[in-house]
């Protein structure tokens, strides 16, 4: 018996040794690369942000902008101007943009070139044609929520707002979009936007993500989609927003801001490919979790920058703003 106890105690450290161990991969450092992020739209002047890539363990403090790069803008193959470094006024992190004086037009071919030390990075992209929102219909209901936390004075109910956004796709071209609901400034509106009511987003979900038992499809910054399922048609996209309902419009809990801005971006193909990798890959999706744990091979993020990393993305946007207060009130009065 004594031998068994000694054996058990001596082997316990092996049995309980940690599953995780830190690993130094600094020998695999690849060297920093110039990162050019640039957005161009018919709504404002062309802007660019220049920074450098970092080794993962050094990326804790973010990525400061490079203020002394040389950035130039060409439009439709002709050099136009050097873009001017403009620091952000209220920012202490030395962040800022290179800003041009040119506001693009639909169909413009935008080319931006950034030079920093010995590195040169450049890209070009075309401003897409705008697909406007034709109509937005909203309806709301207040329903019982079995998951509601009643201890904090909750009602055990949640509000659900359904947005039906109608637009017409141009049959002549492959079109790329991003849809988003925000409060006019930021995407974090308090409630959750669920995209699973629309077949376009159900079709996007891969088998791995579909096998985790969750039916909702999230995307707080918006979600991208293309026209392959409704090419050339008048289409109505259906999204749902839900959140905790606390009994009155003045106390809607998570429904902090009552203005909703529904934005439909018309994207260039490059910008669509780039944003898809960010916006459609929710932290909660099973494939993202498996990738973070290292079980699935990571994907190389889409990039159209030659000689560096980042994106030159062109877009146009159409938006519709609505106060959701009367919709919620009407739903409450209907006795749902």
């Amino acid at each position: 018996m004594k031998n068994i106890i000694i054996f058990t105690i001596s082997t316990l450290p092996f049995l309980l040794s940690s599953c995780y161990n830190e690993l130094d991969l600094s020998k695999y450092r690849e060297g920093s690369k110039i990162v050019l992020n640039c957005a161009a739209s018919t709504d404002t002047v062309v802007m660019a942000h220049v920074s450098e890539s970092k080794y993962f363990s050094d990326a804790r403090n973010g990525f400061n902008a490079i203020a002394d790069a040389h950035v130039e803008l060409s439009v439709n193959g002709t050099y136009l101007e050097d873009m001017k470094w403009t620091p952000l006024n209220n920012d202490n992190s030395q962040d800022g943009f290179y800003i041009s004086t040119y506001t693009p037009k639909a169909g413009d071919l935008i080319q931006v070139k950034a030079q920093y030390q010995a590195d040169t990075a450049w890209a070009q992209d075309k401003i897409p044609v705008l697909t406007p929102i034709e109509k937005v219909e909203t309806s709301a209901e207040i329903i019982d929520d079995p998951d509601a936390n009643l201890s904090g004075g909750g009602t055990g109910k949640k509000y659900v707002i359904t947005y039906r956004i109608t637009f017409t796709d141009d049959i002549a071209t492959n079109n790329y979009y991003c849809i988003r609901i925000d409060d006019g400034v930021v995407a974090n509106i308090g409630g959750d936007v669920d995209y699973s009511s629309d077949p376009i987003f159900v079709a996007q979900r891969n088998a791995v993500d579909g096998s985790n038992g969750k039916s909702a499809i999230y995307g707080e910054g918006g979600r991208t989609f293309n026209d392959e399922l409704f090419n050339g048609k008048n289409y109505t996209l259906t999204l749902k927003e839900s959140g905790e309902y606390r009994g009155s419009i003045s106390n809607l809990g998570g429904l902090i801001v009552r203005t909703r801005r529904i934005v439909l971006y018309s994207l260039s193909e490059d910008f669509y490919n780039y944003l898809t990798g960010i916006l459609n890959e929710s932290d909660e999706s099973l494939s993202t979790i498996l990738t973070d744990f290292g079980f699935i091979e990571p994907k190389q993020h889409y990039c159209n920058i030659v000689g560096g990393l980042g994106i030159l993305g062109c877009s146009q946007e159409s938006h519709y703003t609505q106060d959701i207060t009367p919709i919620i009130e009407a739903s409450k009065n209907k006795g749902h």
């Binding site: 092996f14 049995l15 599953c19 995780y20 161990n21 690993l23 991969l25 695999y28 690849e30 690369k33 992020n37 709504d43 404002t44 942000h49 890539s53 993962f56 990326a59 804790r60 990525f63 309806s139 209901e141 930021v186 974090n188 699973s196 009511s197 159900v202 079709a203 996007q204 579909g210 096998s211 039916s215 918006g222 392959e228 399922l229 409704f230 090419n231 048609k233 109505t236 259906t238 934005v263 971006y265 780039y274 898809t276 990798g277 960010i278 932290d283 498996l290 973070d292 744990f293 290292g294 079980f295 699935i296 091979e297 990571p298 994907k299 190389q300 993020h301 990393l309 994106i311 946007e317």
Partner: protein
């Protein structure tokens, strides 16, 4: 299986088999608004089904013809009917304006015919040869692919203790498994050759020397070089392929090469038997649509492999065995660099949407596929067998084993950890961590042979 002796020299074996493999996923989304039956009641449904399956029926006739000591001829015929359904998608929706692509990948039937023969020829006392060939025809989607797989090996005995062996062989494969994970997932799928992808072929040459150092102790050294064509893997941009496109559009066809040398010392007699093996190996891949067309190391590019195995017969009915394995770690892709993304760069949301949950460490980047080698893999397995003879030539065997006896936590993946502080509040840097899941595992088994 049915076996029959047709004559004193000719033996025939007929066999048949059926295998079925499938995985399926169904995602169904139903939404309703209002009360059923009311005028404002609305209902919507979206459904996506993904299916992947293989059915095989195999018929095989094998003949062996033994014409004295000089020839042993083996030949036969084989037919396999394959039914593939690789990543078939079917969608439906109540939404009127959605036009689903016509379901692709509906059943793909493959017919595989093969005729093969090989002959062991003893040319003289010191020189033996093995000649063989397999001729195959694979017919799929009204297109036929032919493959000839010759193989030849020769052994020259320089003395009673020393011999040299060399060989060449060609192999073909008509089905491949593709996966983008480091563990087996049900989403990994098997794909047949098609109009776009040709059969996987490999050619291998080898040369080796074999020596009996003394009675019961053998030494061998063998080198090889292997070329592979038409390997399939997911292309780098497979995730950008439109959902209505075929699985073929997500894959890339490429080449591979592997080479190396194996040294084996083997003790076959005495109370303690065993072997020591050492391999020095390289494996590379090259695809036009992966890693920007540049060659990269394969997942299993394990540079060094050592196997030591010993078997000690302590008593007539007690046997102790130990096996130690060591190999350089597998290759994995780790994004060691990060960079700022546009959604967190502060652009006005009118020209670039912001993402509220952007990682402060930015986007992942790596220059080369399979850029990082996992730490070395090694473990010691121990076992003891107790033989208990029973009546009527039957045998009972008790086995007590310890897998990974010194509990080496062999990493299987590398995680990028962004936890900002410990439980005690101590700040942490973003860091890489290995994940290992198999510590020491003891086991007991009993086998009854009758």
């Amino acid at each position: 299986m049915w076996e029959k002796q047709l004559s004193t020299a000719l033996n025939m074996t007929l066999s048949t088999s059926y295998t079925h493999y499938f995985s399926t996923y169904k995602q169904k989304q139903e939404d309703s608004y209002g009360t059923k039956g009311a005028t404002d009641y609305e209902y919507s449904l979206s459904e996506k089904n993904t299916k992947n399956s293989i059915d095989d029926i195999d018929l095989k006739a094998l003949f062996s013809y033994n014409k004295g000591a000089a020839h042993l001829l083996r030949f036969g015929l084989e037919y396999t009917w394959h039914k593939f359904i690789p990543e078939q998608q079917r969608n439906r929706s109540t939404h009127n304006n959605v036009v689903w692509a016509k379901p692709f990948n509906s059943q793909v039937n493959g017919h595989e015919f093969a005729a093969f023969a090989e002959d062991d020829i003893k040319i003289c006392d010191r020189f033996n040869m093995n000649l063989g060939a397999r001729m195959e025809c694979f017919r799929v989607n009204k297109k036929a692919y032919f493959a000839i797989e010759p193989r030849i090996s020769a052994r020259l005995s320089i003395s009673s203790a020393v011999s040299i062996k060399s060989g060449y062989s060609r192999m073909s494969q008509f089905v491949q498994q593709v996966s983008n994970s480091y563990v087996n997932l049900p989403t990994d799928f098997w794909v047949p050759i098609s109009a776009k992808f040709k059969p996987l072929t490999s050619d291998q040459v080898s040369l080796g020397a074999y020596c009996m150092v003394k009675q019961g102790l053998f030494l061998s050294l063998e080198g090889y070089y292997k070329w592979m064509q038409n390997l399939l893997e997911y292309s780098d941009k497979h995730y950008l392929v439109r959902s209505g496109n075929s699985w073929e559009d997500k894959l890339s066809s490429g080449k591979g090469r592997a080479y190396g040398a194996d040294l084996i010392v083997e003790k076959k007699t005495g109370k303690i038997t065993g072997f020591l093996g050492y391999g020095l190996l390289w494996t590379h891949r090259k695809f036009n649509d992966i890693n920007r067309g540049k060659e990269f190391p394969a997942k299993y590019d394990n540079r060094h492999k050592i196997n030591i195995s010993a078997n000690w017969t302590i008593k007539k009915n007690v046997e102790l065995n130990a096996a130690w394995t060591f190999m350089s770690g597998n290759r994995v892709t780790v994004s060691v660099e990060n960079y700022k993304d546009i959604t967190s760069s502060g652009f006005p949301t009118g020209i670039a949407p912001d993402f509220p949950y952007s990682e402060h460490t930015g986007l992942n980047h790596f220059d080369t596929k399979n850029n990082v080698r996992l730490p070395a893999y090694h473990r010691l397995d121990l076992g003891i067998n107790f033989y208990r003879p029973k009546k009527g030539n039957r045998m009972g065997i008790w086995n007590i084993s310890v897998y990974n006896a010194y509990s080496r936590m062999n990493p299987i993946t590398i995680e990028k950890n962004t936890q900002e502080a410990t439980m005690e509040g101590k700040p942490l840097k973003p860091r890489f961590r290995t994940l290992a899941i198999f510590p020491v595992i003891p086991s007991v088994s009993y086998t009854y042979k009758f």
